[in-house]
Structures are given as C-alpha cells and as structure tokens.
Amino acid sequence: MSAASASPATLPPAGLDGLDPKWSQLVTTPGLDGDGRTWHVLDNQVPDPTLTLLCVHGNPTWSYIWRDLIARAPANVRVVAIDHLDMGYSERTGTTRRLTQRIDDLCALTEALGLTGPVVTVAHDWGGPISLGWAQRHRSQMSGIVLMNTAVHQPEGSRAPTLIRMVRTRGVLKNICVKTPAFIRGTLALARPRLSAPIREAYRAPYSSSGRRAAIAAFVEDIPLSEDHPSYRVLEGIATDLGTFADVPALLLWGPSDPVFSDRYLRDLAQRLPGAEIHRFIGSGHLLPEDADIASVVHTWLEHLEPQAVPVPDLEADRAPLWAALERRADDDTNAIVEMGPDGEDASVTFAELNADVRRMAAGLADLGVERGDRVSLLVPPGIDLAVCVYACWRIGAVVVLADAGLGARGMGRALASANPAYLIGIPRALAAARTLGWPGARISTSALLGVQERVLDVVATLDELRRRGEDLPVPPPPGPLDEAAIGFTSGSTGPAKGVTYRHHQLQAQRDAIIELYNIDESDSLVAAFGPFALFGPSIGIPSVVPDMKVTSPGSLTAQALAEAVQVVRATLVFASPAALNNVVVTADAMSPDLAEAMEGVRLLMSAGAPVPAAVLRAVGEVLPNAEPHTPYGMTEVMPVADISLAEIDTAGPGNGVCVGEPIDGVEVAISALDARGEATGPLTDESGLTGEVCIRAAHMREGYDKLWMTDHAASQPVGWHRSGDVGHFDDDGRLWIEGRMGHIVTTETGPVTPVGIEHAVATLPDVASAAVVGVGPAGVQRVVVVVVPMNAGRRPDLADEDLSDRVRALVGTTDVAAILTVRSLPVDKRHNSKIDRSRVARWAERVLAGGRMGPI
C-alpha cells in the first residue's frame, strides 16, 4: 500500500497541445470517501445532447487521450472524458483504489455530472473494465460500447501476464511507475508513428513528480492474474456479464502492434460481444487513439447506431452448392484435376476420386475439431491437395483463408494475423514459415513429416491422417448459403492487404456468372495458369489442369508447358495472367511443333489480374490460333464486373484510360462523379463521359472487409454497393473505361486529373517504354508530374531534357505538367508485377521536386 501525498484536483496548465482550456471542468463528488473528492474532467458541455460519450482512459494516460474525439464531436453529442482519481489532474487522494472502488467512483462522478440520457462508453486500456463496470449499473442508459486495446479476461497463452508480473516484481514496480517516469515514457514510446514532443509533454504533465504517480503503480498492481487477487472476482463478473450486452451496439477498435493487448484479447472480446463491429488498424499499436484517426471512426459509427435496413441477399436464384458438380460426377472416372510436372503429367485425380476424397477429408477435418465458421488458412500451391482441402472445408462450413505468396512474407503475416485462422494447412515450407513467423492456426501438413520435423513444426495432423480418420465417419451437415465461405486478400498495392469475406451464395453466384459469361458447359476443359481459377474447375464440373510453372512467378509459364497442359485434357479454355502470357509469347518458338494441333482446340483465352496489353493478346493469337482473347475486369471484391474481347479493344481504340468493356449480365455499374477536391461525392449515374468512382452491385460481390468496419462502411455507400476505388467513365457506347485509382487522382487547381489516359498517351512516344502520372503538392493545388521510363534510360533518375519534355507536354494537352522526370523502372506491385505503385512514385517525386536528393524511387 503506498502512502501517497494528497492534493486537490486542478485545472491543466494552459498551452497543452490540442487541448482547449474551455473543456476543462472541476467537479466535486460530495460524500465520496466521506468528505467528497474533486475531479478534473473534459466536457464539451453540449446542452440537451442526443447522446453522451463517456470516455474512460487507462494507465498511465489521462483524459488528454480523448481530445480529438471532443474536438471533432458532432453538434448534438456531449463528450465527457474523465480523469480517474489519483490520475491526470483529478485529486490525489492518498488512498489506493481498486477496480470496485474505481467503478463506484465513476458512478458517483456521473451522478454529480447529472449524466442522464443515452450514453456510449468509450474506453482504452484498463479504462475498459471500469467503463463496463459502470455499464452494468446503468443498463437502461447504455446505447453503445466502444473498446480499444483492453481486456476483461486473461486469455490462455497471452504474453501480457508475463510482462505484468515482470513489472510487478518487488522493487521494480515502484521504481518504474512511481519513483521514475519510466512507465509513462515507455507507454508513450509505443506510439506509431512517434509522438511529437509537445504531445509527449502533455501526457507527462500531470505526472510530474513521484507524489503524483502513485496510482500508476496501483493500477498495475490491481490487474488480477490469479484467483486470490482482490479484484479477480469483480473482473470475472464483468467478463461473464458482457454477453448480456448483446443488444447494445459495440465497436472494438484495435491496434494489433500492442505488446500487452495482443489479438488474443481482441478475439476474447469479440467472442463475448458477437455482434460487435471490429476495426483493426494495421500498423497501429497500444496508443491507438494517438496512432489512428479513431475520432472519424467513432463518430461515423455513432451515426449508424440505429439499426439500418440491411439489404436481403438475392437468394431467389436457388443456386447449387459449391460442391454440387462433384457429387453429380461422383461416378465419373475421367480426370478432374491434373497437375503437370517438369517431365509431363505428375499427378491426377478423377471426378469420382476427388468427390470421395473431399468427403473423407471433410469428415476427417470435422473429427479433428474443425467446426462450421472456423477459419482455415491454406498455404498450399494450386493443385489436387488445395482443391480437396478447399472443397472439404466448404462442405463442413469452414471458412477458407487464401493468403497468396504474392503478398510477400510480411504481407502474408499481416493478412494471417488479421484473419486469425484456427487452423493452417500448409506444405512443409509454409509450416516452417508459420512456425518461425508466428502465423496463427493449429498446423496441418500436406505431407507426412519425419518425427523430429513433426515435433519441431508442432503439427496436429497430416492430410493423409485426416483422410484415414474420415474414411468411415459421416460428414457433418452442410452449411447454408449465408454461411461465410472464404476470405481473400486485396493485393495491398494501396496500403496493407485487406481481408475480403465471401459467403457461400456469393461464390455460387460468381461461379454461375463465369459459366454464363463464357458459355461454359461440360464439354469444356480448362488450363488454369492463374491461381484463383484453378479452384473453379471442380465447382463448374469441368476437368482442369495446372501447368508446370512456379506459383510465385506467373512469368515462368512457357509455351511448351502451356501446350503440354492443353494437350492432357484437350483444353478448350485457358486462364492465364498477363505476365504468364507474356512469357508464352516469348518462348513460343521453343514449343514442340507436334503440340500445335492441341492448341487449335482452345476456343477461349482469358487473362486477368492486371490490365492486359492488347499487343500481348494479339501475339498469343499466334500460339492459340482459334482462341478468342478476353480480358475480364474486376477486383478481389467482385469478379468479373465487365469483359472485353481483343476485337472489342480494337474497336474501342485509344481513349482516356483502359477500356474494360460493358458490364456483364447481372452486374450493375454506376459512376459517382468526382467533385473539385477529387472525391467521389456524386450520386450514382450511368451518364456517359462523366468521370468518377466506379461503383458496382452484383450477386457475386463480396460480403465485406474482415475486421475493418470503417473500410467496409466507406466502401459500401450506398448500402448494397461496392465502391471499387477505381476511377473511370462510360463512353457513348456503354463501355467502361478505367482511368486509375481514386487514391492516385491528381487534384489540381482546375480540377481532378486521372493518370491512366495520360500514361497511355505518353507511352505511345517511340522512345518511351512506360510512364506514371502523379501529383505533387497539397490537395487542391497539386501539380501534374510525369515520370517516364525511356527505352534507353540512364542509370540514375534525372529531369527529362527539353526535347522529351516538349513532346510529353504536347501529348498531355491542356493540363499543365510541372515536371517530367526519367527513371530506369517504375515500382510495381508484387502480386501482378504490373500495377504501378503510384503512391510510392508520388512520394519520391514530391521529395525530389522539393529540393531533395535525386535518389532511386
């Protein structure tokens, strides 16, 4: 027990960064501890509010952490942010206060404040349990719960107790919390990015002497880690009781890079509040209110506290389950999947075998404990094992998590941490990575491992074991169309990859859309040289073959490998990425002439994943003489949206952007026009010639973004639509043109400028290989900069000479181009190896054109 000095509450000193002195109030709670106590609270004092936010800070911060939430509060919302007693600028009582006392304290304070009417509690860190304790006693007032990086329970395996125990070691606690400001400094150092000096000073201001810091140690000491701790029962009570708030809207905001409150705590809270909206701010940490713009998210969420009319999914079309085609061909002894190896056919499975294997695997997974709704990440290259696992998961209602290697190791780690799968099925190399990098999920190996390896990798089963276990077991009942089926990831070319969720009915609709678009029937067969499509064959019910190529490097597909794959199943369809096609063209001469005949049987070539140069499509015509080249337009969130053939590309000719064709049947596409600031604020329209954000509605659209409530909300306006983030327009013939990404719009004084049209025009110069158009300067007065890759680029980046500058400006026309820079190459995304990373180019140009060193991009 610390004998801390006592002193009354005071107002904060003037001049603390971002803190408006008129918010600060001193409040007395008469009778508390006998003679009453004085508090410091921040209160915007909105009269007759429709809602009050009661903001409760943690340890060792103070109400200052909520300043942004107050400054940007909507007109009718009162925000009250309290300083706990012995914390911030509230009274130093000289007592030690435990959780129960602190809840009593808070109740006394809100009574003194006359806090009636609807309340949303907002809490961070150990403010969480206190706010929830208050909520238990004010149920009728509770209109919402917002929690950030907090906990009500110690989940098994969390590291936090270790850290807390370390801090609580005799002697250490007082030293780092009270005698020195080490705990405060340490907490402030967790901010990402680093806090500015004035903000750090403001956090430290109320804790200037050891006498003012006693409660910091008391807070740490009050964390119950064992059942005999005085606060254990209270906290357990709060945790257990949380489920009774199921009807209160809840928002969980999380900074995952938190050494104390890791994702385990988020999962624990999410399980207790199953209806909660979740937004994980990737890259943010413990001091979330400093790291991320939580004010926007909280205030946006408040606008939607009233339940909205959720659009009922279009389930009219009674679609077949994803595995229906397998059951239909259960007695079919023709090949369903063929995996090609370096020396020809490597492995194959018939429809009958595949169906039986999926059934076995489904039962085996269920026996292992995989339940409906469990997430299973699949780190397995396209082929038979992947198909078996995916269809087995779907069959029992498990959700497949597909993080592809194109995200890079770091991107995959982030993606998997976010999806947080319960199981991870992988090839041994992937399991080793998962083990080393701490990727979540109980590990299942695709192949048998040596005993040592099995122990080291901590594997719970192998696929063959599961097959054996499932052999004679019944398969659990199948999921319904509304059950979650899959999580894919955006390419992450604009920020961290986002998890995109699909339900069964959406994937069924996607399958049906593809069948209809390309008139696919059971006489067809497919070469899938593009990851995602390797999974469609079994669903459509046609044979598919995976050619011999490196999964991580689509450019490794040779004409020979493609032709061998085509011949094996007498393929009529070829799906390949642009990079793969490029290499097919390059290696066409080395193809065995006897394979040419098989290539004549291909009727359709589909290439997607990135804009496909018409020249590549044309050149492939030499290799696949009877194939009509098509390129669909779409994105991770909805695919396909539109489709265009080579002939149609030629008809469309050049224009402002890339022509992606007309929307396919069943897909609605509309444009939300840009305003002067380059934001898509216009109503949805299909008016031609109007540039804006491409908005899409389709039955085969994603369900939402995983644990990214704000992202999901922003991308789903109006409700039921998907805002693609692409900017484009319709031409007079109803064709859609893509002009770039919303984030890459250059906002000039004369209005928004989109990049793709200019880039294409500049790339028509005979001595130019490619170009990127970016903006420099503040939004609204940005200048257009063209970064050119000349055919004969010098080693170092440079300003273009006057001649090239003149020719570029002449092509661009009326838009003023401030500078033309030359580089050897432009940065592109990992997954497609073709999308220009314009954000990175822009940051570089901004630096260089402001007098920075002309270094590499």
């Binding site: 004084e749 420099v776 503040p778 402001a850």
Partner: protein
Amino acid sequence: MKVLVTGATSLIGRTLAVRLRDRGDQVTTFQRRPSGLGVVEHLGDVADSAAVAAAVVGVDAVVHVAGLAAVSGPWADFERTNVGGTRNVINAAKQAGVGRFVHVSSPSVAHGGRSLVGVPAGPADPDRARSHYARSKAYGELVALSANSSDLSVVAIRPHLIWGPGDTQLVERIVERARARKLAIIGSGASLIDTIYIDNAADALVAALDRAPSLGGRAFVVTNGQPRPVREVLGRIVMAAGLAPPRFKVPYVVARVGGSAVERIWERRGVEEDPPMTRFLAEQLGTAHWFDQRETRRALQWEPVVSLSEGFDRLRAWFAEQDPE
C-alpha cells in the same frame, strides 16, 4: 484615374506605366533617371521625402514599384530604399489623400529558407527573412500594409521571379553567366519554382489597382501558376538566348555554405559587382517555392494570359531581334 508609378525604369515599372497609359489612365512616374516613356515624370530618390511628397500631390493612386533588388550589399542601402523609401511614399500618399496604394513586394518576405510547396501567401516576417533584400522588403511590406485604412486601401502584390524580354534582373544575369560558362545548377536542379511572365505581372498590378478598395490590407503572391524545375527555367531562358542549357551541377550544401562565405567576403571587401553565389541565392535556387494561387486569382479576378511556353517564345524572338546574327 491619376496614377503615380514609382520605379518606372525597372521592367515591371515601365511595363505597368505603359499599360496604364494605354488604357487611358493619367500616368506620372517617379524615379531617379528619365524613363523615356513620354509621360509626366518626377525625378528623385524615394529616400528623399520632399521629392516624394511633391510627386504624390494630386494623384488618385500610387503603385510603388521602386526598390533596391540586389543579391548583396550593405543592410543600410536596403533599409534606406526598401524600408525608408516605402515609408516616405506611403506617408506622402496619406498626406495627399490618395485612395489606393499598390505596394510591390516579394514572396521572399515570407520565406524562411525551407521549401514552399503549394502554400498561400504567408505573413511578411522580417525575423525569418534570409537576406538583407528579403528582410528590407518584409519591413517595407509591413510599413505599407499597416497604413491601410478606410481612406487609403493598401494592397501588397508579391510577384514571384518576374522575367521577360528586356529583364535585367533575372534573364540578363542568367544569360551573362551562361555566356561566361559560369552558370551552374544547384543540387539536382529539380526543385519546382514559380515564375511570372512580365505581362502577367503587370496585369496583376492593374487588377490590384482596380480592386484595391475591396482588398485593403491584404498581400497576394502572383505567379504564372506553372511551377517548373529550376533547371528547366534556367535552361529555357538560356536556350531562348541561343545558348546551350547548363549542365554543370553544384551540390546544394556546397552552394549554400559557399554562398555564405562569398557573401561575407564580398561584404568585407565592398566589391561592387554581384557575387557569384550567396546563401540566399543558393536557397532560392536549391529549394522548391511554388504557391497556391486560388485565392489570389479569386480576389484579384486576374488570370495570367501569357503561358510559360508563349513567354519563352517571345523571349527567343526578342533575343533574335537584339542579335540578328
């Protein structure tokens, strides 16, 4: 309108006087040497308050262009002309009951040496000014704007790097150096800088004069709204004179440190001619400075009519006339 233009021997003063005269204003000028413009002239120094007072009598408006624009020299010279001279002209205008006063200032009055990227006109700040010239212009602008009242509308216009045919400040110095093969690029030469073609600058001053009653007390940066890498600006000017664009580069740090040293030596020795480099010049050429023109254009209801490429064409034609070879 009866308008007095001070400093009518400078390119901008002369161009403005002609423009006002041609549109029917009664123009008189005040400067040390005859301008040859064929308008009523008062000869004198702005530091001479009596001469200034005499020139201001009876006019409706003053456009105060006169000033000392040099890259080096003793502070006293700058103070005398740019601060004292401005005080004399503004006081005389107040005394004489003049209604409008357009003060020609410089964007350097708000330039603390860092890059300025798409910013609006900041307040003049003598304490942060990076050269005697900039500091004296900052004080001068503060003197002028503080005289704004309901009787006298004072507007400050800060043209950014005026150039055009006949310009002795920027164009002539650059071309001379290029001829002497002494023109170097500071750093990569990629810093974006704003400039303004002479005709556009004159138009902006006319616009400020016409709208002065609604703009009193405000300062506006005026530019062509077409920032370019400094190397491109130098290159286009030099090419207009028929010379090869500069290729010689000096690292920014070297230029800045070297410039400071040269500045001190020049000051100590009292050398008359311009030093090859000053810290101020290094900063001006090595950092970006371009501006948000939206408020300027809205308030002045003015747009530049001569684009940079048109301006460079005219400059080339002018050089060709000068030197018919």
